[in-house]
């Protein structure tokens, strides 16, 4: 008898989706679907809006990463209108991006992912959540909250609001950071760096404990999509970089994104499937997000993060297809984020009120903005008319880049579990929380 396993909804996920797994009589996995069950049509209803208002609407695409969804359309409009921004504005935006990267990665590690590892995959679903982790490991819980709080407060200080920021405007930023507020964050930065180091220690211990899982479950060769500036890991500025499953790196200027990135509309998901166009669908399915960024980077932008990258590559090689190594890759990015936060906080430019180009004229044309959001590459392609009204918008959204890749790794893991009974021989550690 054909058996269907349904998971509805997938929990600890930002967004809406279910899983559907079909097993044949012979026990073989026939089909795996990741059904993303809603979409809200931002592409359409931003038409007719003032271009400069689009960045005040689109953060609502994602409450976890509203900052990239604020800055990326701003960049796209600046590209369309050929507007340059002052250096202080650029630095403020980079600080804002890294503050978000930091809090989001910590949220992911502790609130979304850690319950699986700290309680173990066989734990009672009623307890497998961050609330229970906080109850059982109050010190770690308090540290995690202080880290998220630091990142979110810094986002709010620069962006006005941490969720759905408003301070970026075509031409720069509406306001620079007040010195006394900057000083408050500077005072805490060294403690945050220590917290990050502790988090990396915990992360590496988890990786070690679960090495059998990391090395053997969900090792799925795909393409990868990242962003680098001259080969260096960069989340605000740079070129699109594709990494082939063999590890070859190919760069595309963001204006040529349509040469690299193709969209396939599946029957069963409102989030579409992305793939590397020259390789075709489904062969060219890629993954994005931190592991992809780490695979794409020649080096990290900061010293501690670069050391962490070297340690990672010593263990897993130049290119990693290990799905569970995403967590490790995320921590490398977290280290870079806190180092960059320190660098920008120490830069007097972020308090310089000269943070906006004053003379701006809308013009007819297209513009493209790209950043790396915490869940993957984010691309806005906007068409402006001569009055600066948005005529058309194309969005390639961070999580969307991963949907096909997630489904591909799910199929791989489903076969491992249901056909090869891979779980039975797997070495699992004693859970930290029992």
């Amino acid at each position: 008898m054909v058996k269907e396993i349904e998971v509805e909804p997938v929990t600890r996920l930002e967004g809406h989706g279910g899983l559907r797994l079909t097993l044949g009589d012979d026990g073989k996995v026939q089909d795996v679907q990741f059904n993303v069950t809603s979409t809200r049509f931002f592409e359409k209803f931003c038409e007719g809006r003032y271009c400069e208002h689009v960045p005040r609407i689109t953060p609502r695409i994602c409450g976890i990463c509203p900052i990239p969804h604020h800055l990326t359309p701003t960049k796209a409009v600046e590209d369309a209108w050929n507007v340059k921004i002052p250096t202080p504005a650029l630095k403020l935006r980079q600080l804002l991006m890294n503050a978000k990267q930091y809090s989001s990665h910590i949220l992911h590690f502790y609130a979304l992912a850690a319950p699986d590892f700290l309680l173990g995959p066989m734990a009672d679903p009623a307890l497998r959540n961050v609330v229970h982790v906080i109850n059982k490991m109050p010190e770690v819980g308090a540290m995690a909250m202080k880290m998220m709080d630091f990142g979110q407060k810094l986002c709010a200080a620069i962006g006005g609001k941490s969720v759905h920021p408003i301070s970026a405007i075509v031409g720069g930023m509406k306001k620079s950071l007040d010195e006394d507020i900057r000083d408050k964050f500077l005072k805490e930065i060294d403690e945050q760096i220590e917290f990050t180091k502790k988090t990396v220690e915990i992360g590496l211990k988890v990786v070690e404990d679960y090495w059998d899982v990391v090395a053997n479950v969900g090792v799925v060769p795909t393409y990868y999509l990242g962003m680098t500036k001259n080969g260096i890991h960069d989340i605000y500025n740079g070129d699109i970089r594709i990494v082939t499953p063999e590890g070859k790196k190919i760069d595309y200027n963001v204006h040529n994104y349509l040469d690299a990135l193709g969209e396939h509309i599946p029957e069963h998901s409102y989030a579409t499937h992305m793939y590397y166009k020259p390789a075709g669908y489904p062969e060219g399915i890629y993954r994005a997000n931190c592991l992809a960024m780490i695979n794409a980077a020649d080096k990290m932008a900061t010293p501690l993060a670069d050391d962490a990258l070297k340690a990672f590559r010593d263990k897993v090689g130049q290119i990693s297809h290990h799905t569970f190594a995403y967590h490790w890759a995320r921590l490398i990015e977290t280290v870079e984020a806190i180092e960059l936060i320190k660098k920008y906080l120490e830069d007097p430019d972020i308090c310089n009120p000269d943070c906006k180009t004053l003379d701006i004229e809308p013009r007819e044309g297209q513009g493209i903005g790209v950043t790396e959001a915490p869940r993957g590459l984010l691309l806005y392609h906007i068409w402006s008319d001569a009055q600066g009204i948005c005529k058309k918008l194309n969005l390639l959204v961070a999580t969307n880049h991963n949907i096909a890749g997630i489904e591909k790794s799910l199929m791989h893991v489903a076969k491992q579990i249901f056909e090869d009974k891979a779980l039975e021989g797997l070495k699992l550690p004693d859970p930290w929380i029992k």
Partner: protein, 454 residues
């Protein structure tokens, strides 16, 4: 307060059951709740979270399997875009005694309501058929194992009865916590013996009460780290009641005898005080206050929900509640301008409408008088002016203060009356090219007058 139904399986468990459901949303309200961070700790032990997909692992089936009315409070976040959203809202209504529209999506439809300008065919056509990046001829509208779309974004209260609205995009963390605690009849902070006045840097000299500012330090618990009066801002009671009031209370007491002549700054503080000290969730755009007022009216008595409040503090807060009772529209007539520190009737005057990218507004004068569109005068108070603090005009995410009218015209009428504006209504309205996106992007789906779309 409403008590949780007796749970036969676990009589000793006094926790209150709550459920969070997400319709078509962005997760932002949940991020905002999580942004309370350490502020969550006193709250968590009081709650039994029975459904919250973004944080805990209970599945939809487990919600279906619960008894009707078993859950005390249900928060619904997000807009109703799909049939699955509508079904989930109905299920939540059945399972929960109280339903809270959590955030501007479920209150008003939010920006997603702008989609009601287009037909469903136009919406799906752009996304699934026409988009430039579709590269393998796979254009189609997905229809396997995905819920159908509704034709429009539907306001939640068109589908189910909503008990309370908590607007904001997102609502502020302290307001979410305050609202939850209000529903639970609790106060988050350990109440200390001594009052804030005793540790106030202005205790000896420069007391704000002496300057005529409504400052609540004499009845508020000590132990705060911010000490608002240092920066010239009155204490608004966020630490909760002190067990022993300070001597300055006499001054505060006499000031609260005549509340009708409050300055706008005091009005703002009163607002915050009612929220933070008494747990009346007004600041969150929380319309449950309407029901509270009805109860007050009916019973003829006014009291706080706080046990063991010192009698002098109870007397002051009762006066505030009476004021609230007699000014039933108090929270409705308050708008973002009431919480804005910019100067009106400034040296600037609007002579034409400026677009947001033009120049850079100065940090002192009212945006409108500098020529920019700011929705502050027609938007519900509650945010504390977060956008304005970073030099960005209000765009109205807490919802409009009046419904059933043409919002563009109402905005124009209001600002012509209240601010330095030297252009006519017609000029103003013709200079704004995108009326819907400018004047009602958060509320279009809920505006009863709206006849557009399909």
């Amino acid at each position: 307060m409403i008590k949780n139904k007796e749970d036969n399986n676990n009589i000793e468990d006094s926790r209150v059951k709550v459920a969070f459901n997400q319709c078509s949303d962005c997760w932002g309200c949940h991020q905002s709740l999580l942004n309370a961070h350490l502020g969550l700790l006193p709250l968590l032990p009081a709650l039994e979270i029975v459904y919250w997909p973004c944080v805990v692992d209970f599945k939809y089936k487990s919600l279906e399997n619960r008894e009707d009315g078993e859950i005390l409070v249900g928060f619904i976040e997000g807009s109703l875009r799909t049939k699955q959203d509508v079904d989930a809202a109905k299920l939540m209504r059945r399972k929960c005694q109280l339903i809270i529209a959590f955030g501007s999506c479920s209150c008003y439809g939010n920006v997603h309501g702008l989609a009601n300008e287009s037909t469903l065919e136009q919406l799906t056509g752009r996304k699934f058929l026409e988009v430039e990046s579709i590269a393998d001829g796979s254009s189609r509208v997905p229809d396997k194992h995905v819920p159908e779309f509704e034709k429009n974004i539907i306001p939640l209260d068109n589908i189910i009865k909503v008990d309370a609205y908590m607007s904001g995009c997102p609502p502020k963390p302290e307001h979410i916590i305050s609202s939850v605690l209000f529903l639970l009849g609790q106060k988050p902070f350990p109440v200390k013996e001594s009052a804030f006045c005793n540790e106030c840097p202005l205790n000896q000299e420069g007391c704000l009460l002496d300057k005529g500012q409504l400052c609540f330090g004499s009845i508020t618990s000590s132990g705060c780290s911010i000490k608002c009066p240092t920066n010239g801002n009155a204490c608004v009671g966020c630490m909760g009641p002190a067990k022993i009031v300070a001597s300055k209370i006499d001054k505060l007491n006499s000031m609260t005898d005549n509340l009708s002549s409050m300055s706008s700054g005091d009005k703002k503080n009163l607002y915050e005080f009612l929220t933070l000290y008494l747990n009346l969730p007004l600041m969150a755009g929380f319309d449950l206050s309407g029901d509270i007022l009805k109860q007050i009216k009916k019973k003829g008595i006014v009291s706080t929900s706080l046990p063991n409040l010192p009698s002098q503090a109870e007397s002051i807060t009762s006066k505030l509640l009476y004021y609230l009772r007699d000014n039933r529209d108090f929270h409705k007539i308050s708008n973002v301008c009431d919480t804005c520190s910019r100067i009106t009737h400034s040296k600037s005057t609007m002579t034409r409408v400026k677009r947001d990218y033009e120049g850079l507004p100065n940090l002192e004068d009212c945006f409108i008088e500098q020529g920019y569109i700011c929705m502050g005068p027609v938007t519900n108070a509650g945010c504390g002016g977060m956008c304005i603090n970073v030099n960005a005009p209000c765009t109205g995410c807490y919802g409009q203060t009046k419904w059933g009218v043409n919002q563009a015209e109402r905005f124009a009428d209001t600002i012509l009356k209240q601010f330095n504006v030297s252009i006519s209504k017609e000029e103003l309205l013709s200079q704004v090219k995108d009326h819907i996106g400018t004047f009602e992007k958060f509320t279009l789906a809920s505006n009863k007058e709206y006849k557009g779309g399909n």
